[in-house]
């Protein structure tokens, strides 16, 4: 056996570890233990392993730029994710270029074309609401550009994915209202063709079911915007048997509901308890302060960038796509503490 034929896979096989671990160990990557690094380096030396210089030179010709495609930037959650991506990429020596699809399929296609022309090394993407096809992503992959999807993932493509446990978050929010004495909980939902719309609605239903509260269709309204919530809440509160709790799909909607409740002369949380989702600055400024579900968007961005960079810098040969879940967290503030209210 000639030493030039020795590959990372041979070393991996002999040491009974993955090729990707060997690759990282040879690069002295921080994620690999000193023990493994030593074993790998010793075996590589013994077998006279030499890196494939053509592959290396190809790798070194990379642009060290990552493309990011988000539905919208002016959005608390995505801006948090971008901050996480940016910080992680910067630390690893990568620059990021951000593209906005505005939830439009053709603009998403155009973004992938622009990123291809810009010779990015990899792409991080959260899918547009409208997208039903994935040829534009396959085109990236065919050009050797790996993709990591986050939040709104593409189910028909083999890629790494970072997801939020939206359903669990919605369950926690609804359960929290129930434990605080709410008996009739309204849900302001996002459109049901969106995963976040469906998942948060399911989480809401699961909490009702667990505590034996019957589902009432008229308490669930599609409403995911601030201005819209002012009107929707007004009509809900005019019901003969009005809700005593509201779980809104996002904070801006929850804030709209709160303004409307106060305008009606009702008290929060005594008459109506309110909880939002996403935990932005609004929740700390509105009075009473708004309970919410923290989605850890920054952590999601860090994880997405980390996974992509690991893939770019590690050994791609024996790569298997993975799905990572980012946990949500219940943040309790005054708007939902009915039991404590006077």
């Amino acid at each position: 056996m000639r030493s030039s034929q020795i590959t990372i896979k041979d070393i991996a096989k002999k040491l009974k570890i993955s090729a990707s671990t060997v690759s990282r160990a040879l690069k002295n990557h921080q994620s690999i233990s000193e023990k493994t690094k030593k074993e790998v380096h010793e075996l590589a030396k013994k077998l006279k392993y030499k890196p494939n210089t053509i592959a290396l030179s190809l790798r070194n010709s990379r642009s060290k730029t990552l493309g990011v495609i988000v539905p919208e930037m002016v959005h608390h959650f995505f801006s948090e994710v971008i901050a996480g991506i940016d910080d992680t990429a910067f630390k690893a020596g990568y620059h990021i270029m951000i593209n906005q699809s505005n939830d439009n399929y053709l603009r998403e296609v155009r973004s992938t074309e622009a990123l291809l022309a810009a010779r990015v090394d990899g792409v991080l993407c959260s899918l547009a609401k409208e997208t039903r096809q994935n040829d534009h992503f396959i085109n990236l992959q065919d050009n050797g550009i790996p993709i990591v999807f986050f939040d709104r993932i593409c189910k028909n493509l083999e890629t790494d994915r970072i997801i939020v446990d939206d359903r669990k978050g919605a369950f926690l929010a609804t359960e929290h209202l129930i434990l605080n004495g709410c008996k009739r909980i309204a849900h302001f939902s996002a459109p049901q063709n969106l995963a976040i719309g469906r998942d948060r609605f399911i989480g809401y239903l699961e909490a009702l079911e667990k505590y034996g509260i019957p589902y009432e269709k008229e308490l669930v309204v599609q409403c995911d915007q601030h201005e819209q919530a002012l009107i929707t809440t007004h009509s809900l509160l005019s019901m003969k048997n009005r809700p005593d709790g509201i779980f809104a799909v996002n904070d801006a909607t929850a804030a709209g509901a709160m303004i409307s409740i106060k305008n009606k002369g009702l008290s929060i949380p005594k008459d109506v308890a309110v909880i939002g989702f996403s935990d932005g600055i609004i929740s700390k400024i509105i009075e009473p302060n708004l309970s919410s579900i923290e989605q850890h968007g920054y952590e999601m961005g860090c994880k997405a960038a980390e996974v992509l960079i690991d893939r770019l810098e590690g050994n791609i040969e024996d790569y298997t796509p993975q799905t990572y879940e980012i946990k949500t967290e219940l943040i309790i503030r005054a708007s939902s503490l009915k039991n404590d209210a006077k």
Copy 2:
């Protein structure tokens, strides 16, 4: 004279209009009157004008992508500007790629390099706080990539510029507090090495001067963040002769001041009137609602993109850089109406 030698400049000279007008008229641009279009087309025909096909082909090989460099995206003003750029670019068939400098000089340099590699047609930029050199921008210009600066402009380069009248906005804010009966107005300022820090401070001073109110050094504090404002306001209100008005350099800082004033058991605007700057969603959610200065970031973005695209599609030969000013506007809400307060 051979017809192939006839240029846009010749037509312009004969009609006593600018070459850029001729260029647009030949393209039937909407900004040109029908009368001018007719005159230009008739003269072009008469003189047997033929477009320079090499230049045209060069122009057609453009990527139809614009690069944007902003100090930070998670910022109400810049996100508004980006929305304006994006809408205008999209309507004109351009895609945008956004780069974030994080107010760091080296990251700004890297952004220009990445945009050059990405073969963008033009660049829209708001300068990083740290930047003192401009070689990276000259490099873009040398590569035939025009630049339009907005908000934080580069004073040493000949480019189009879009600026906000920050000084006037600050004057209006301070004058409004004075006209509402404030006699001791504190100013929470941004760092004075930033144009917005200086300009808003000068606007504040000019208003004091106009109404014969003496400048008191201890009433001006460098404080441009929400959390910081909570503490700063607390100490200001402990002064023997406490301020009866606060003009904060941005809304998040104003909101921090308001929370602190309320925590102290004082009333807004009766005891202390407050006004912010930038008019984001915070101003409509905090109670009482916050008066502020609308900067028209969206309009700034539209103008910046329009100017760049006009330059890309118009005649560059006789191009003269221009500076455009976007007006600020006083938005009055309850937080500053001391005269109306009970």
